[in-house]
Structures are given as C-alpha cells and as structure tokens.
C-alpha cells in the first residue's frame, strides 16, 4: 500500500502539479458545456425544474380526477 508522498524539502513552495491544472481545465470545460446546454435548453435546470414539472403533472392529474 502506498505511503503518503514524501515531497522534497524545499524552502520555496512547490507549484501546483500539472495533473491538478489539467483536471481543473477539464472541469472548467465540462461546466462550460453544461452551461451552454442549459442555455440552449431554455436556461432552466435543476431540481426546481423537475419539481415544477412534476408538480404541474400532479395538479393536472388531480384536476382530471376531480
């Protein structure tokens, strides 16, 4: 089992690893794509969107039943 990495003792703080920067870049791209898709889909997203849809369906069903 791997042990915690022993970083070399340096006075200067090491820069952010490349893999962290690459991951941050990938995450930014994913967020950008999601935002674009949301905008193209009408700018609505999230639980409230689904909830509103479900709620409206429920009231329609209730009205129909009544």
């Amino acid at each position: 089992m791997a042990q915690p990495n022993r970083e070399p003792a340096t006075e200067n703080r090491p820069s952010t690893p490349r893999w962290v920067k690459a991951l941050a870049l990938a995450a930014a791209v994913v967020v950008a794509v999601v935002v674009v898709v949301m905008l193209l889909a009408g700018g609505e997203h999230g639980p409230s969107r689904h909830g509103a849809w479900v709620d409206s369906l429920g009231s329609t069903s209730t009205a129909r039943d009544a």
């Binding site: 089992m1 791997a2 042990q3 915690p4 990495n5 970083e7 003792a9 703080r13 090491p14 952010t16 690893p17 893999w19 962290v20 991951l23 999230g46 639980p47 689904h50 909830g51 849809w53 479900v54 709620d55 369906l57 429920g58 329609t60 069903s61 039943d65």
Partner: protein, 190 residues
C-alpha cells in the same frame, strides 16, 4: 469516497491514532463497503434509469420508477452518506489528512459535490416514483416523466474519477500541506 488516505492505516508515518486500531479497522471496512457499494448501486440505478428513458411499455416504466425510488432512498443515499462520514473520520487519524494532498482534497470535494446532487435528485425521484405508483396516472403521463439519466451518468463519471484518484494517488502537496510538512520538518530539526 473510494479508497482514500485511510488505507494507510498500517503506514509508519501515521500520527498517534485518535481511536483504537480495532475501531479504525472496523471504520475502514465500513468505508470500503459503503464506497464500493455506492458505485455498484449506482450502476443498478442506471439500468433502471435507462429503462425509463428508452422503454415505451408503461408497466415496465412504472416498475422501473418504483424501483428507482426505493433504490435511491433506501440504499444509495445511506451508502453515500456513510462513505463520506467514515472517510472523513478515518482521515483524521492519518498523516494524509483531508487538506494536505491535492488528490485527497479533490476526492473530498468531488464526493461532497456528488452527494449534494444525489440528495437533490432523491427528492425528484421520490416525487416521480410516487406519481408512477399512482394507478390513476395515465400511461402517456407516465412515459412523459423525465428520466434522471444525465445526472446518474454524470454521477458515475464522478465516482469513477474519485476511484481512479484514490488508486493512483498522484503526487502533490497543497499549499496548506506544504506549510504543515515544512513546519513538521522544522519541529524535527530536519
């Protein structure tokens, strides 16, 4: 949270444990079980989610929604919460720490993010499952219920990313971790 620093319980660099080794091992077992279980349960959920998204048989879609509702509230959420809590608890007793290494910190953030989305989706799925379980719901309304496939597939990608990070453990100290490491070395006269 996958295999996080707590796997280092046998490492020579661990700090004095805050809990007895037996208790820590038990927590580790629970953590591993809940983390891998979360991933497996999500795969089972995606199978049902795919059924909802692609099938046109109202009875099958109704059953799938009811299964999704049970699965997410009775198994996935408890496993996810257990995974996060045990991971944090075990990390507190090792030198990996929660904020010292980039891979641990990113794993923690991704896990918290995944859990927040999961909790949000659980409410949506519960409402849809309730509608699906209602015999009065018309088949066309049932088939029109939106699936949660984008979220569940996204969740799978996030959990696999966490697992990958925890297996490879890429090097790199955070600024906080570097300061702590520096302070530790200074205190030991290195």
């Amino acid at each position: 949270m996958g295999r996080l620093p707590w796997l280092d319980v046998h490492g020579p660099r661990r700090v004095a444990p805050a809990v007895a080794p037996g208790v820590r091992k038990l927590m580790l077992a629970v953590h591993l079980t809940s983390s891998v279980g979360w991933l497996g349960l999500l795969v089972a959920y995606i199978v049902l989610d795919l059924t909802v998204a692609t099938n046109s048989d109202p009875q099958l879609v109704r059953a799938a929604w009811m299964g999704m509702g049970l699965l997410i509230s009775s198994a996935i959420v408890p496993f996810a919460v257990t995974s996060l809590l045990t991971g944090i608890a075990i990390a507190a007793g090792t030198r990996w720490g929660l904020f010292r290494h980039w891979w641990v910190l990113i794993s923690l953030l991704l896990t918290v993010f995944a859990l927040l989305v999961l909790l949000s989706e659980a409410g949506v799925v519960a409402r849809s499952a309730s509608i699906a379980a209602d015999p009065a719901t018309a088949p066309e309304s049932l088939l029109a219920l939106p699936s949660t496939l984008p979220h569940s597939l996204g969740g799978l990608v996030v959990l696999l990313a966490i697992q990958t990070l925890n297996v490879y453990k890429p090097r790199g100290l955070t600024p906080y971790g570097w300061r702590k490491e520096h302070a530790d070395r200074a205190s030991r006269g290195l």
